[in-house]
């Protein structure tokens, strides 16, 4: 089971770039890395997914080093609406025990 470790919380000012790193030392060959965002009183929602190197979409970038033992979610120019909890999920093929962890609570300050 590939468990993950993330910082519990982070603060950032509006307009700054935020990088949240997740450690997953026991990641397996077939595992993908997925990040979710959760606002209060809502279920998590998908942000980005990757397997190796770099992935970019309209909201974020995901950096994965060659050893894949960690990954970094990068949010460019955050706004107040990006205040949320961010979860890193490493899921195995045919996973039957998915570990979301405690997530990182990002607070964006005006």
């Amino acid at each position: 089971l590939a468990k993950t470790t993330q910082p519990i919380s982070m603060d950032s000012y509006e307009g700054q770039e935020v990088n949240i790193t997740c450690s997953h030392n026991n990641i397996a060959t077939n595992d993908y890395i997925t990040w979710y965002q959760q606002f209060p009183s809502q279920g998590p929602r998908f942000i980005i997914q990757g397997y190796k190197t770099k992935v970019t979409n309209e909201v974020a970038s995901l950096f994965i080093p060659a050893d894949r033992k960690s990954s970094t979610l990068s949010l460019p120019r955050v706004s107040l609406s990006d205040t949320a909890v961010y979860y890193c999920l490493v899921a195995q093929t045919g996973a039957n025990n998915l570990f979301f962890g405690t997530g990182t609570r990002l607070t964006v300050i005006p």
């Binding site: 077939n30 595992d31 993908y32 997925t34 979710y36 009183s41 809502q42 279920g43 998590p44 929602r45 998908f46 997914q49 397997y51 979860y87 899921a91 195995q92 093929t93 045919g94 996973a95 039957n96 025990n97 998915l98 570990f99 979301f100 962890g101 405690t102 997530g103």
Partner: protein, 115 residues
């Protein structure tokens, strides 16, 4: 189409009572997941279903918890003889499959309060 729906949205019950929580996944999604989230905590995986296959129940916290999925669609999570520590938000998610790379789509959750 419609997203994942859950009912009820809120449930208040007395200790010792049984409760049933319902999840309607996105049409066509073969995989369905149940999670529990205590106040201020992360998501605790409970159980998942893949199509009509028997679920893996190893994540359920006690034998008071059970879940079923009828016809490969709607799922019900049942908690018998509820305890105060069962108070939490119960989240359901569905996906096209369980390959590990499938995006999970979450419902709004059911907030359970056991008095």
């Amino acid at each position: 189409g419609a997203g994942v729906s859950q009912s009820p949205s809120n449930k208040v019950t007395e200790k010792g009572k049984d409760v049933e929580l319902r999840c309607d996944p996105i049409s066509g999604h073969t995989a369905l997941y149940w999670y529990r989230q205590s106040l201020g905590q992360g998501l605790e995986f409970l159980i998942y279903f893949q199509g009509n296959s028997a679920p893996d129940k190893s994540g359920l916290p006690s034998d008071r918890f059970s879940a079923e999925r009828t016809g490969g669609s709607v799922s019900t999570l049942t908690i018998q003889r509820t305890q105060q520590e069962d108070s939490a938000v119960y989240l359901c998610a569905s996906s096209w499959g369980t390959s590990g790379r499938e995006t999970q789509y979450f419902g709004p959750g059911t907030r359970l309060l056991v008095l």
